[in-house]
């Protein structure tokens, strides 16, 4: 299965940058799953859990607000609440 790159950027640092299988985004009005070759999209993020699946493992990050930009297999997540981004 083709993969996509996920990048989490906060004003203080780039919290994550890696190749994964799929991402589930907590959008402003509900969750949305992103797989490889998704159509270009800009979305507003809400409060919730960002889940990243790669093979059998799953990681999740708590985020609160921000934006997501999906373009040519790169998912850029811009979130301000850097301190709320924690690995569970």
């Amino acid at each position: 299965m083709s993969q996509l790159q996920v990048v989490i950027v906060t004003p203080e640092s780039t919290a994550l940058d890696k190749q994964v299988d799929s991402v589930v985004l907590p959008l402003f009005d509900g969750e949305k799953g992103i797989l490889a070759n998704h159509a270009p999209m800009i979305g507003r993020l809400g409060k919730g859990k960002l889940r990243i699946k790669d093979g059998g493992s799953e990681e999740s990050y708590q985020i609160d607000g921000g934006f997501v930009q999906v373009e040519s297999n790169v998912v850029s997540i811009l979130t301000g609440k850097s301190d709320a981004v924690t690995v569970e």
């Binding site: 906060t10 640092s13 979305g43 930009q69 609440k81």
Partner: protein, 300 residues
């Protein structure tokens, strides 16, 4: 002729001070690098936000928001002056304070109510010395200001602005251009005026695509909703950048001040050593003369 021992004592104390200034220089260098890394990370974030705004503008969406427009009334202003918590950094705090005073005087002429907010112990004390009491003070910002802390301050400003209690926000801080050049400026952050990327020319194809529902980008939930969030975010990041720039500039200023202090100490040690050697020499000569004089007196 100066006393050789007194000269030696002075030389020793200068050597000790040199050790301290040298260490402070090294610490400032390390802190500067760290602060610089953070500033770079922040500009990466800014660049991406600008990209989102540019995409919105390209799709023909008019970038308008209450934060971008000048309010009808203009009676209440806030001036935020960013200084350091510590001294020994050359003219850094003094310059910020001086421009802060000037901006304050200018704003007082224009506006009816002025709220003065100061960050950094040096600035707070500087204003106190001039009999000006700051309405709000912050001392928690050092060389690595936390975004979460600044966001709180930014949200307070945004709430006041939206409620119509604040009509203008000016920030006096030291802008960092390069290691060799920092500039002390007063910038108006609210109203925001325009946000970067907003003047991207409208691409007619993108507009047509958006209207027919097959845009280059899909905006979720809608372009307007994104815009509603993008504008306050770019204000927050702008304020954060001010704090970061001030932190980086402070470390640079300290680095340079301590470097020249170390160099001055070196020069002084050189000078004192020369005088000390001369004094010691003449003391020895004097002693020999005395001994010879004594011998001659005995012989005679």
């Amino acid at each position: 002729m100066a006393n050789a021992r007194a000269l030696d004592k002075r030389r020793k104390s200068i050597r000790n001070i040199k050790k301290i200034t040298r260490t402070m220089e090294l610490i400032a260098t390390a802190r500067f690098k760290k602060a610089m890394d953070r500033a770079t990370a922040a500009s990466d974030y800014t660049r991406r936000i600008t990209g989102v705004v540019a995409d919105l503008a390209r799709a023909g969406l008019e970038v308008s928001h209450p934060l971008l427009e000048a309010p009808e009334k203009s009676t209440d202003a806030t001036l935020l002056v960013l200084t350091g918590n510590r001294g020994l950094c050359g003219g850094y705090n003094g310059n910020a304070l001086r421009l802060g005073m000037k901006s304050r005087a200018a704003l007082l002429e224009e506006m009816k109510n002025l709220t003065l907010e100061v960050s950094g112990k040096r600035g707070i004390n500087g204003f106190k010395f001039r009999d000006i009491e700051a309405d709000e003070t912050f001392t928690q910002f050092d060389d690595q200001p936390e975004y979460a802390e600044i966001e709180k301050i930014a949200n307070r400003y945004l709430a006041a602005y939206e409620a119509g209690k604040l009509h203008r926000l000016d920030v006096t801080y030291t802008k960092f251009h390069t290691v060799a050049r920092q500039e002390i400026v007063t910038e108006t952050l609210l109203p925001l005026g325009k946000i970067e990327g907003a003047d991207t020319p409208v691409d007619p194809e993108a507009v047509a695509a958006r209207e027919s529902g097959e845009s280059l980008y899909e905006f979720v939930p809608s372009a307007e909703s994104i815009l509603e969030e993008v504008v306050p975010t770019s204000f927050r990041i702008k304020l954060f950048k001010c704090f970061l720039d001030a932190a980086v500039s402070e470390q640079v200023a300290r680095m340079i001040a301590m470097k020249s202090a170390t160099e001055a100490a070196n020069d002084m040690i050189k000078d004192l050593s020369r005088t000390y050697n001369r004094a010691r020499q003449s003391q020895i000569t004097g002693e020999i003369m005395e001994v010879i004089g004594g011998v001659e007196a005995l012989e005679g």
